[in-house]
Symmetry: C2
Subunit: 535 residues, 2 copies
């Protein structure tokens, strides 16, 4: 007979799961599903951190990346930056603990946001090769270099330090160097480390990146501009976007002792007048202690906040790449005939400011694969996204745009358009809603979709204008050709024409001859569609 299990027996199996164990078992959630993606993810997490670190310290980033092949499926990845370095006591936590970092608790645009990335790479290294990650860091030009060999104690999600050292002749400048040994696979085309670094250089024209590939090739991306992008600032949650549970937590833990000061200091866009308005509407005194509100009372300011007219969230604290910089980067990367870029005004989804930029390059070198799908580059907070294209809001916005209106081929007016074009879409935000921890695709929020489509239409119109101008120019030059072709004939036979003219109306006949030539030409070109935007 089958054994019946009681509540007590079932209880005996209940256990806490460490977040490191969780991700160890679910490593595909972090971008480590297969060896080639794993190699890319490791490089990506380290480079993102390097760029963030240098920029936060307002240093023009210099990043060095080296990927060495140790065996058929084993690689050594080294990433070094010229950032401010990391203070000794924080090194073990930053690299040896999942969900630890400086960016999660701030609403500020940055590449990292979750405190998972780099420690996930450390976890993956130990899982596949058993090796610790080596971290070297120096925080002052004349100081020593601290060296740690770190693993993660997955059962506790705590760093395990295997070796710790401090040397005088370590790094040459301030910054951090990280070395990981992992299982991986090196591919050279799509989704590759090479492609990721190329796109990173394009999106970060203020950064210099040196890359030595597993085949020993050295790629140098020198900075195109010598100015850092403006420093994005942290903002406070906006009353329109805040959720009840979060507000309740904020009310409970605030250091302010009056509701009115809480409102003015802990959320954005609330001054003394709005604070008073909110309190009156909520039926609560301005001097009430936020910590003392009952559950029912806590709900009232939230509802009141939605009714009071407030300024929209600060959006001027985002840092887009900028039209000029994107164009600069694109021109460096590819020789096309036509370029255009558009940085839209910042807007908001669920209380989070965001800003969309679109750029495109058309023709020229790209004509080599005239009939293929366009090349789409997706970026979020300066970081190229190489995987999960089909689940990404950017891809969806592109394939839902009718590109025939802008002079490209597109079967059925939807899907990926075809033509000699590279299209770049960038989302900058204080909080990019990724579809998974591996940060490969942007979730499909309607506000985000709408902005991307509008930006695409802006650039699409420029493109259409260019394509039409080209077509017109070709027609004009053809007209001239024809004129030049018939002119000698006309002159030569002027007398005969004069005679004929007396008898017949010869103009329409001549026009027909000339037009036949032109029409033939135009048919080859295929007229591009109208510009009827709104859907």
């Amino acid at each position: 007979m089958e054994k019946v299990r009681t509540a007590e027996e079932l209880a005996a199996q209940q256990r806490e799961i460490s977040v490191a164990e969780f991700f160890e078992k679910n490593r595909h959630l972090l971008g480590f599903d297969n060896p080639s993606k794993a190699l890319l993810t490791v490089v990506k997490e380290a480079v993102d951190n390097s760029l963030d670190a240098a920029e936060e310290a307002r240093i023009l980033p210099e990043v060095f990346v080296k990927v060495e092949m140790l065996g058929e499926d084993r690689f050594k990845v080294t990433v070094e930056d010229n950032g401010p370095g990391i203070v000794k006591k924080e090194i073990p936590n930053i690299f040896g603990k999942l969900l630890y970092g400086s960016k999660f608790h701030q609403l500020r645009q940055s590449r990292g946001q979750q405190g998972i990335g780099i420690s996930a790479a450390v976890l993956y290294a130990q899982l596949t090769t058993g090796k610790p990650t080596i971290v070297e860091s120096k925080t002052s030009p004349r100081g020593t270099t601290k060296i740690f060999h770190i693993k993660i104690d997955t059962l506790k999600n705590e760093p395990e330090i295997l070796k710790e050292d401090e040397v005088k002749n370590g790094l040459k400048h301030t910054g951090t160097r990280i070395t990981l040994e992992i299982e991986g696979k090196y591919v050279q085309r799509y989704h590759s480390v090479d492609e990721y670094l190329k796109q990173t250089a394009l999106a970060n024209p203020h950064a210099s990146i040196t890359y030595i590939s597993p085949t020993g090739e050295k790629h140098e991306y020198r900075r195109a501009i010598k100015k850092l992008p403006k420093m994005p600032k942290a903002i406070k949650p906006h009353p329109y976007g805040v959720e009840l549970g979060i507000l309740m937590r904020m009310l409970k833990s605030t250091p302010y002792t009056k509701l009115s000061s809480f409102l003015q200091n802990e959320v954005s866009r609330v001054g003394s007048t709005s604070a008073e308005g909110i309190c009156v509407l909520a039926g609560l005194e301005l001097t009430r202690r936020p910590q003392d509100l009952t559950h029912e009372e806590q709900e009232r300011p939230l509802k009141a906040m939605q009714k009071v007219k407030l300024m929209r969230p600060q959006t001027d604290w985002l840092s887009p790449i900028g039209e000029k910089n994107i164009l600069e980067g694109l021109k460096n990367m590819i020789k096309a005939e036509f370029y255009t870029a558009r940085t839209r005004e910042p807007v908001v989804y669920r209380g989070n400011p965001f800003q969309i930029e679109v750029a495109l390059a058309y023709g020229g070198e790209l004509k080599e694969k005239q009939d293929a799908e366009i090349i789409l580059m997706r970026l979020a907070n300066y970081v190229p996204l190489l995987y999960q294209a089909s689940s990404c809001a950017i891809t969806k916005a592109v394939t839902k745009t009718n590109w025939r209106r802008y002079g490209l081929e597109q079967s059925g007016g939807k899907g990926m358009p075809h033509g000699p074009m590279l299209l770049l879409v960038h989302m900058a935000s204080t909080w990019v809603p990724f579809t998974s921890e591996s940060k490969e695709a942007i979730a499909n929020y309607p506000e985000i979709m709408k902005e991307i489509k509008l930006a695409i239409q802006d650039c699409g119109r420029d493109l259409l204008r260019y394509i039409r101008k080209q077509a017109r120019a070709r027609r004009e030059s053809r007209r001239l050709d024809i004129f030049q072709k018939y002119l000698p004939l006309v002159i030569e036979n002027a007398e005969i024409l004069a005679e004929s003219k007396k008898k017949h109306n010869i103009e329409p006949i001549l026009e027909k001859v000339v037009n036949a030539d032109l029409i033939e030409e135009e048919e080859e070109e295929e007229i591009v569609g109208g510009e009827n935007e709104e859907e």
Copy 2:
């Protein structure tokens, strides 16, 4: 001038992130991206837990689900089961702590696996309505009912008990009742609670489910069979699938003091002979203390394990729904003309046993939408998957199958087929590789894709046979019609025919007349494709 930030200032912002905070901010990862999905997810997590609990205690499950509308976007969800109940001290952790549970650390087929689901629902409730979740549970028929009002302290990921009670006249039988108040939206068609429960009843013919919808309708799904599915057993990791990092951890924490006993007890399919073989190949003594191995030595048994011939992982401990039960369920649910089902033999991906089942219903009631896409039902460990269809291995396998070979319409031989058919695909496994924490889609492992395609082909062949038989039957009956149509004529004109026959060969002429009728008919039917399976 801009302020330069030093390593020390940056360090001051470093902080630990609680897993509850992480998911609070990333709630879309848990299936709470929008109000209608959130309502479904809450019901799903509670029902999955109820079914798991009853089955683990070998009780035929009775689940009661009630969804009440409290306001335009506010709902109260109650789910009650007849399981064994939960012991008092475990209640707060199970409902008030993310990453806590009994299923994560076992390799055993179950609906829950990550220890996130139900506490995520509690988190979502407090985030949107600020309300605690009420849990009532009774573990012995004549015992008291324990009542808890629980929230999650998100900063610590610890349960916060707002109220605790114990009453005599609580639940009528052992089991658990959970009540949550959430923001949500009720939809009645696709992706709805209604649809989820209907499919759950189909996949769990041994369960009785009563559902009272927000509109007050009562749906009763009575159990179709009175026998529980066999109890899946937990297995140990198989040497072929284990990763270095995991093995190192196991070696370090094992209670066994000899390498040989470690191998025989902590991984599966290793007996004393294989254990010896592994040790010899690894150049390690049988009596070595596993805990004392150096890093380099730890790698050796892993490599040796891959070389020793071992039996494949136990697969007989999976519990599929079974062909008979699925057919029973399908017949209950839909009146079709033709049904077929196939449960394939268990196989393995990355060391994890899994088993694919496919069933289909064709024609009958389904003919109402003859030309529409087929209905696809995806299931994992008895649980219907309603979202993220396009990222799921099941959908991919279906759309990559050439359904024209099996008599369905499909544009270009790929994509979703069209026709009066419902197709069900179920994956049972000790570890289903979901693409996100919300467990809505199965990751795209080649071994899994292959098995699904093979199972589809099995059922497809049955379908083709049926469709052909039908076509043949229609042809035969038409032949009879024609015979009956011409017979009187033949008889009437027998004399004339006899005369003609003397002069001409009239048989071919008559055949032509009769065949013309038949061909017309056949063209209407369209001949179904050949069965050239291998791709």
